[in-house]
């Protein structure tokens, strides 16, 4: 009797639950690291829960501030701690991660995965965000381009067109500044740009700079001279971009120097800004009935440019002509900036095989059109369009709350950027994070705060970048830079 009871107890306690759980990754637990969010972390948590139900895997999501993400991944994986099996991060950091041997090669998995519909992912994101050294190292989950957003109603009232040049931008900002744009009786702002240190400020500045320094197409590069790796900093174009960047502060909120994109997006969707520079997030956020006061009042346009561009031989600004600016439209040279490159999922090469499989399955699931095509229409996700089908299917956007005209306007601005032959690629060489997030970011913040003059800021950025280049090895950095521009084999 007792043995029979014991058998029954064993059956109930262990065997029945085991039979009930038939998931593909039953018993596999994976740790995924990303930044605090709510962008990125929100869809990750949401899809992780669905993935757990479908496969039996356990997904633990850890978040850290964006400024800590780079070092958290590197120190964890290179010191042998390996707390994280996978990460969602900036693909430009692959230049540091891949040589450190911490990234799993996903080529074979992608080739064998039909559900991910790899060919539906835009060529740029497949090549720039996913590929490094001829191997697929990440799964794109997001598409990133910076654009200028404007209030259609405000521009109509002012009798102005969307900005084509940065001078136009300043003119609109000045004219709109101080008007009450959301009907609360308080004066609002002509321009809202995230200028906080240790956040996104340097991307905003590069969005302004691109149109002044890059004219001959993507392969010309906007950061360094491709002949000798000298920074393209001590010249009139960089000085002009600095001047424009600081000038926008005159028409911004009083605490603009302490605002990150979360703050400026909130200000824009609450109707307090006439203009803003941002990634694709403001579009979907503007249709959220819970938070937005500007539904159907938002326009997006490819980044403005300039009629005067850098002569790299003299360092002076010269007028555009057909020879100097072959990609100019109406005499305006535009260089849309693929800032950041889009959040992507990577897998730790040191993780156990079962964990790698589960992590890949999670990223594949998140990237598949069924999930992704909906995510990019939700503002809070932080995911912007990166699949061909997302640009083609207007009805998905309309169903999400866009007007048809609004959806076309938004998607056209991104597509124009994506298809531009003069697109500025983000920096993807070893120590890219040091060049941008340390040197450029700090000097920009000091310049905006009035601690440095334009000439001093140029001098400091130049010296800081040169110091890193010399420490890493000029020739090695030059080769990496050329490879990142597609000039040498990647």
């Amino acid at each position: 009797m007792i043995p029979n009871l014991a058998r029954l107890f064993f059956l109930v306690l262990f065997l029945v639950p085991a039979l009930a759980q038939t998931g593909r990754f039953q018993g596999v637990s994976i740790n995924v690291l990303t930044f605090t969010g709510p962008q990125i972390a929100e869809p990750l948590r949401r899809h992780a829960a669905a993935f757990e139900r479908a496969t039996g895997a356990k997904v633990n999501v850890t978040v850290v501030p964006f400024s800590d993400l780079y070092q958290q991944i590197l120190t964890d994986a290179t010191t042998g701690t390996n707390s994280y099996d996978a990460w969602i991060f900036a693909p430009q950091w692959m230049a540091d991660f891949a040589p450190a041997g911490i990234m799993e090669d996903l080529t074979a998995r992608v080739r064998a995965d039909t559900a991910i519909q790899w060919s539906d992912i835009g060529v740029f994101f497949r090549e720039f965000s996913a590929l490094y050294g001829g191997k697929i190292l990440t799964i794109p989950l997001d598409g990133d381009f910076q654009m200028v957003y404007y209030r259609t109603d405000v521009l109509r009232q002012l009798g102005l067109q969307p900005p084509q040049t940065w001078d136009d931008y300043l003119n609109i900002a000045q004219r709109a500044n101080g008007r009450d744009m959301n009907g609360d009786g308080r004066p609002d702002f002509g321009s809202c740009i995230a200028k906080k240190r240790n956040a996104q400020s340097y991307w905003m500045f590069m969005s302004i700079l691109g149109g002044y320094v890059q004219t001959q197409g993507t392969r010309q590069g906007a950061f360094f001279d491709t002949r000798n790796m000298q920074p393209l900093v001590k010249n009139q174009a960089f000085a002009e971009a600095l001047r424009v960047y600081k000038e926008t502060t005159r028409f911004g909120p009083p605490d603009e120097l302490n605002l990150d994109v979360g703050d400026t997006r909130g200000l824009f969707t609450s109707g307090r800004c006439a203009l803003s520079i941002d990634w694709g997030d403001i579009g979907p956020l503007s249709i959220d009935p819970q938070t937005s006061k500007v539904k159907d009042l938002v326009g997006a346009v490819i980044l403005p440019g300039s009629r005067r561009i850098l002569d790299r031989n003299t360092g002076n600004l010269v007028n555009c002509n057909a020879q100097l600016c072959p990609h100019a439209i109406n005499g305006v040279n535009r260089a849309p900036y693929a800032a950041f490159g889009g959040w992507s999922g990577g897998i730790n090469a040191k993780a156990a095989a079962a964990k790698k499989d589960a992590a890949y399955a999670l990223f594949s699931y998140m990237s598949q059109p069924a999930q992704s095509n909906k995510d990019v229409t939700i503002g809070i996700t932080g995911f912007n369009p990166y699949r061909v089908s997302q640009f083609r299917d207007i009805q998905t956007w309309v169903a999400a709350g866009f007007s048809e005209a609004g959806a076309r306007n938004y998607l056209t601005a991104i597509q124009q950027s994506l298809n531009s032959p003069n697109m500025v690629l983000d920096l993807r060489i070893p120590k890219a994070q040091q060049y941008q997030q340390v040197v450029l970011d700090r000097v920009l913040s000091e310049y905006l705060a009035g601690q440095l003059t334009i000439a001093q800021a140029q001098e400091q950025i130049h010296n800081g970048w040169e110091e890193i280049t010399n420490a890493e090895g000029r020739q090695k950095q030059l080769q990496a830079y050329l490879a990142s521009l597609g000039i040498a084999g990647r």
Binding site: A100, D255, N258, Q433, S445, A449, G450, Q451, E467
Partner: protein, 377 residues
């Protein structure tokens, strides 16, 4: 007989062995502690010293530290980080005037020491070295206050330390004197004044961030009434520094208050009463009776706050993120930002420069002020 001799020999050997053990007992018993201390103190110190002379690289299979000599220190003192760390001086005429006056005062002090019959070698030693260091720090600080110049993290830290310590001491002293009086409610206020000390610095930083927000938060009506609704603390370097200083003073004044209140309890009431009977004013009573009793505790209190003040990091990090620009960044925060971006070498070099700075200032303080305050000179 042989057996007895052997036994005696063995006994002698044993006694000698025990004697040898006894002579070395101290070493044997102390050795574990010494080894633990070496492991926990010296090893990290040597490790971080090596880090300050190295550059971190990532390579296949992990990370490697490449020895780069003094490159990290050169970067901070002469290279791309010089302006960030040491600021940018200007030709501040009044800084030179102040320096001249200070040099004159030091000269007079030296001369009096010499006339008092002090050895010329002693005169050339610590006092002169200390005086020169004091002049150097004064110039480093004052030459960055002129329009067109900028303060580095060194000057910002010195500002927090000097202004913070002075304000905390004065406020703490005032509150302690108030609470030492026999007034109604002093027990309640004693507890109330100590409360900020119990709050974590991060919490204080977030609270002050909320309070100093002129656009939203509980003090918006007050800011609007003062005409400051369009003003942002974080856009103005000195506004931001003051916000950090106010937060730091609010948090640490209770510490000064407790120490000085305890010291006040040791003041003999008979002397105070006798002075009052003799017609001494309240100021005379404080100056000649109370303050001398407070001096030893005050000197130690200031020393502790000096050392602690140099390590300020939470408030500027949370309240202003070191901004605007780098206006509110302390040396510790500078090192933290460097570490966070995996510039381990620069972070370690900053740590050692800070250690050197704190050692110099506290040594001067310990040599010049502590003995006088304790009545040892």
């Amino acid at each position: 007989m042989k057996k007895v001799e052997n036994k005696l020999q063995q006994a002698g050997l044993w006694i000698r062995f025990v004697g040898w053990l006894e002579r070395r007992a101290a070493t044997v018993f102390l050795l574990p502690s010494v080894l633990v201390i070496l492991a926990f103190v010296l090893f990290p110190l040597v490790g971080s010293l090596y880090s300050s002379l190295a550059r971190l690289r990532f390579s296949e299979g992990g990370l490697e530290l490449t020895f780069v000599g003094l490159a990290n220190y050169r970067k901070l003192l002469l290279g791309s980080e010089q302006g960030h760390f040491l600021g940018q001086p200007g030709a501040g005429l009044w800084a030179l005037v102040v320096m001249g006056l200070l040099a004159l005062v030091l000269g007079v002090v030296m001369y009096h020491r010499w006339r008092a019959g002090r050895s010329v070698w002693i005169w050339l030693g610590q006092p002169l070295l200390g005086g020169l260091l004091l002049l150097a720090f004064t110039w480093l600080f004052l030459s960055r206050l002129w329009p067109g110049t900028r303060m580095g993290t060194l000057q910002t830290t010195l500002f927090y330390v000097m202004a913070g310590t002075a304000l905390q001491y004065l406020l703490g002293l005032g509150l302690a004197l108030l609470c030492a009086e026999r007034l109604p409610g002093t027990r309640f206020f004693r507890v109330l004044f100590i409360l900020p000390l119990a709050i974590t610095p991060i919490g204080v930083a977030y609270m002050f961030r909320m309070l100093t927000d002129t656009g939203k938060g509980p003090l918006v009506p007050l800011w609007e009434a003062m005409g400051l609704s369009g003003f942002s603390w974080v856009n103005d370097p000195w506004g931001a520094r003051l916000a950090v200083l106010i937060g730091d003073v609010w948090q640490w004044t209770p510490f000064a208050f407790i120490v000085l209140l305890a010291a006040l309890q040791s003041v003999p009431q008979e002397q105070v009463e006798a002075a009052a009977v003799d017609g001494a004013s309240r100021w005379q009573v404080f100056r000649h009776i109370i303050f001398p009793y407070l001096l030893p505790a005050s000197a130690t209190l200031v020393l502790i706050r000096l050392i602690e003040g140099f390590k300020i990091v939470d408030l500027p990090n949370i309240l202003t993120n070191g901004g605007p620009g780098t206006a509110t960044e302390s040396i510790t925060l500078h090192a933290y930002f460097a570490w966070r971006t995996l510039d381990i070498g620069t972070a370690a070099a900053l740590g050692f420069l800070l250690m050197l700075l704190v050692s110099l200032i506290t040594s001067l303080y310990a040599a010049w002020i502590l003995p006088r305050a304790r009545g040892q000179v």
